[in-house]
């Protein structure tokens, strides 16, 4: 009976299954490339700034951040975390980074990919691609990995204007121009390293595919504004992977098109991702990859997570002006992903709220009843703004928030019983604020 209830509570998308073969292929390509001596890059998520360029040059990227989620889900992460601790890395560092340090130490010790590494593990890198984007771990982590891998590290630049600068005349163009110059240097770096020239036509072709992927996946997420919401965050976190890592691939485009069709059909039929959507929630930040079943329990209560933290979403259709040059478009897309929420808020007359802009925008547009924040004990970047975001949404929109502590990789610091025990009282809170919003004249 319990099992039956669980099955009914969350209505997973059928088309989420398009992702698994792509992920398996992504990892196996890395393993094969390593075995065949072809170039492999350990790459940070770089919001598409470097991925197309690498792939066009015949480099197979592998992504230690994603590998961290795989290890966490697999259960092997605890072993790698322990090795990282023994290697002298402070325990407060990013769980993904610690997982990689432990994995690298083990790989060096064994002289090969560890046999117990999930999905064939990560092949030895030819170079490492870090990024200035968002957190300091994105360049410090790979710099620290030089302790194990004597390979070059290239760091992609990533301007971080504040809200005032984003809206100031000329700043955005200056920033994109800087990124373009640096991307050309990255191309030169690869050409020297690999002894071959960039195929600019192929790069443009991959970029065309990526832009289509952005559009479809953006449109899928727009459909989640429907009531009931047709796509739960659990499926989002599965489905975000192709856009994040494989946006140049035709399979990613085809996959998202299939997802769009299924989600649209649900909207047309009034089918929700949760059987009885009582509350619409926003989840922030990354989920506890090791304990995703926890969301099924909340679904049984009618909690439908209709959107989540912005960093994992595709950018909306482009509004920054620029040229049709490939590097200009690549730079603009990455930069646009960082600035669009502020520009959008300004256009719509929303208050400008640093660090919480997209939460504010989407809390209104997805008509959220509550926010559940997951304070990641090893990710300061993701966690810094969570308390402030909850304050802003409550103060400005009468939407309450609930916080829980955990980590992306380290399952020992997450106790699902804490938020589950608080769920009932939080529902009372959400009901109370629903009434306040009604009195305030808000639409939901």
């Amino acid at each position: 009976m319990g099992e039956e209830l669980k099955k009914k509570a969350m209505n997973r998308l059928q088309t989420r299954n398009v992702v698994r073969p792509m992920v398996n292929k992504m990892y196996s390509e890395g393993v094969v490339a390593g075995n065949e001596g072809r170039p492999v890059a350990w790459s940070m998520v770089n919001w598409w700034e470097g991925d197309l360029i690498m792939r066009t040059m015949g480099v197979t990227p592998v992504y230690p951040e994603n590998f961290g989620t795989v290890c966490a889900s697999d259960g092997i992460a605890q072993k790698y975390l322990g090795i990282s601790d023994a290697e002298g890395f402070p325990t407060h560092l990013c769980g993904y980074a610690r997982n990689t340090f432990g994995y690298s130490a083990e790989m060096r010790r064994l002289g090969q990919v560890p046999p117990d590494a999930p999905l064939g593990g990560m092949a030895r890198p030819t170079f490492m691609l870090s990024s200035e984007g968002y957190c300091d771990a994105r360049f410090k982590w790979f710099q620290a990995l030089r302790h194990y891998w004597n390979v070059p590290v290239w760091t992609l630049v990533y301007p971080h204007p504040g809200p005032k600068e984003i809206l100031a005349e000329g700043t955005n163009r200056t920033n994109v121009e800087y990124m373009k110059k640096e991307l050309l240097k990255f191309v030169e770096f690869l050409e020297n390293l690999l002894g071959k020239k960039m195929d600019w036509d192929l790069l443009a072709e991959k970029l065309d595919n990526q832009e289509k992927v952005f559009k479809v996946w953006w449109d899928v997420n727009e459909l989640r504004k429907a009531k009931p919401c047709p796509l739960h965050s659990r499926d989002f976190w599965t489905l975000m992977v192709p856009c994040y890592y494989l946006a140049a691939e035709k399979e990613a485009l085809e996959g998202y098109q299939a997802v769009y069709d299924e989600v649209k059909a649900r909207v047309d039929a009034g089918i929700g991702a949760v059987e009885n959507e009582k509350y619409r929630l926003l989840f922030s930040e990354l989920p506890p990859w090791h304990s995703l079943g926890f969301f099924d329990k909340l679904a049984e209560r009618g909690w439908n997570f209709v959107t989540e933290s912005p960093g994992y979403h595709p950018p909306p259709p482009m509004e920054l002006e620029g040229t049709n040059e490939t590097l200009d478009r690549i730079a603009r897309w990455t930069y646009w992903a960082f600035v669009w929420a502020t520009i959008d808020a300004h256009k719509k007359g929303y208050p400008i709220v640093p660090g919480a802009q997209q939460y504010y925008n989407w809390a209104r547009e997805y008509q959220i009843d509550g926010v559940l924040t997951h304070h990641l004990l090893t990710c300061r970047t993701a966690t810094f703004w969570l308390t402030h975001a909850m304050n802003v949404i409550k103060d400005k929109l009468n939407i309450p928030g609930m916080a829980m502590e955990g980590d992306i990789v380290d399952l020992t610091v997450f106790d699902p019983s804490v938020p589950l025990n608080n769920a009932g009282p939080f529902e009372d809170t959400m009901e109370h604020y629903r009434q306040l919003r009604k009195e305030q004249g808000l639409a939901w």
């Binding site: 002298g88 982590w141 030089r146 302790h147 200056t174 800087y178 300061r380 970047t381 966690t383």
Partner: protein, 385 residues
């Protein structure tokens, strides 16, 4: 300007205890006081407009209360403390704030500070992490934007010749700081680590001329003193995150150690390198502030081998160790500092390769839990004795 009745080390002590000593005077004369984050805002541009720069610091002795309602506890404790003090009105005297994208949390702090404090002037300098050739041009554009907003707020332009003059003035102070640090080269050092730290912390909230005068007084006083530190068993160098109070250093010096040198954000890193006087002064400022400050937030390019990379990133520490006759290095870092945390194994490998004993000491930016730190330092000192 306030003529403090005391001079030299006593003056530094007074300013260390009351950071608003000069602030009150400056405000009374109608001048502006601006807070800033870290060592990265180009202070010369502030002093060229007769603004008193006052580095915003936390307080290791004050429990954090109000800030807990804004940021989670896993954020850098110093930044939380700074926000806490701001929310409690302790920085109510500021007319403005200049932030920089020093580290990720530091950058975020700047925006959260602006949201809460709403000072009449606020500017955020976007500082690259890399020092590629194009990064200098990008950063220079950022300095131009900073200059523009500053001039708009102050209602007057920065004269380029005045800016060059301020660069010389700040460079004179930097030279005096280096002379101050030289006073700890002898055995025993003429100045304790705690005294040195009080002097440099006092500089961070003093007008440039008053600060330099204090330095001259201290140097003169210390050269002829007979009541300096006594010779201890070990000469230590500190590396790491900012120290805003002397408690940790005093703890080490209460043991069989002299703290003779540092590479910390509120110590030598803030002052060590001069700005080159260039035709366009912004070029010199861009180079010094982006490349020369030796903070781990700046990504130094990969070298051919790991050992070469260690030398490139940390080689200057060998110069310090040699010149200050260092016996051991304490890598101190406040918990939750990621930029310093990632450095630790590589830095330890470098120091081990050089035969320099070292220990990593993580603390909570509070002197409440001093005892376990003291035990570890004691054990380290026994090890290197």
């Amino acid at each position: 300007m306030s003529q403090l009745s005391v001079k030299g080390l006593a003056k530094a002590q007074q300013i260390y205890e009351d950071r608003q000593v000069y602030v009150r005077d400056v405000k009374a004369k109608g001048r502006k006081v601006m807070g800033y984050l870290c060592a990265y805002p180009a202070l010369e541009m502030l002093t060229a407009l007769d603004i008193l720069p006052c580095r915003v610091l936390g307080n290791m002795h004050e429990p954090i209360t109000k800030a807990d309602a804004q940021v989670p506890a896993i954020i850098c404790p110093m930044l939380r403390s700074m926000l806490d003090l701001g929310l409690k009105g302790k920085y109510g005297f500021l007319d403005g704030f200049v932030g920089a994208h020093s580290c990720d949390c530091g950058g975020s702090f700047c925006h959260l500070w602006d949201y809460n404090m709403k000072l009449p002037y606020h500017h955020f300098i976007d500082l690259p992490h890399v020092v590629h050739e194009d990064s200098f041009g990008f950063f220079k554009e950022g300095l131009k934007l900073f200059q523009k907003t500053l001039e708009e707020y102050m209602g007057k332009k920065i004269d380029p010749d005045r800016l060059k003059e301020e660069i010389r003035t700040h460079n004179r102070q930097r030279a005096l700081v280096r002379q101050l640090y030289d006073l700890r080269k002898p055995t025993p050092p003429l100045l304790s680590g705690a005294e040195n730290l009080k002097v440099v912390l006092a500089l961070l909230c003093s007008p440039i001329e008053e600060g330099s005068r204090m330095l001259e007084e201290v140097i003169e006083q210390v050269k002829t003193r007979t009541d300096g530190p006594r010779k201890k068993g070990a000469r230590l160098m500190l590396w790491g995150t900012p120290l805003t109070e002397v408690g940790l250093v005093e703890m080490m010096e209460s043991l069989d150690a002299n703290v003779v040198m540092d590479d910390i954000c509120t110590g030598s890193r803030h002052f060590w390198d001069d700005v080159e006087i260039t035709e366009d002064p912004l070029d010199g400022l861009a180079k010094r502030y982006l490349e020369d400050i030796k903070c781990p937030r700046t990504f130094r390019e990969s070298q051919e081998t790991y050992e070469q990379e260690q030398d490139c990133r940390f080689g200057y520490l060998l110069d310090y160790a040699r010149d200050w006759k260092v016996d051991g290095v304490i890598l101190q870092s406040m918990r939750y500092c990621d930029t310093h945390g990632y450095e630790v194994p590589t830095l330890k490998a470098f120091l081990d390769r050089q035969g320099l004993p070292n220990i990593y000491l993580e603390h909570e930016y509070s002197m409440v839990a001093e005892a376990p730190l003291k035990t570890r330092v004691e054990a380290f000192l026994e090890m290197i004795a």
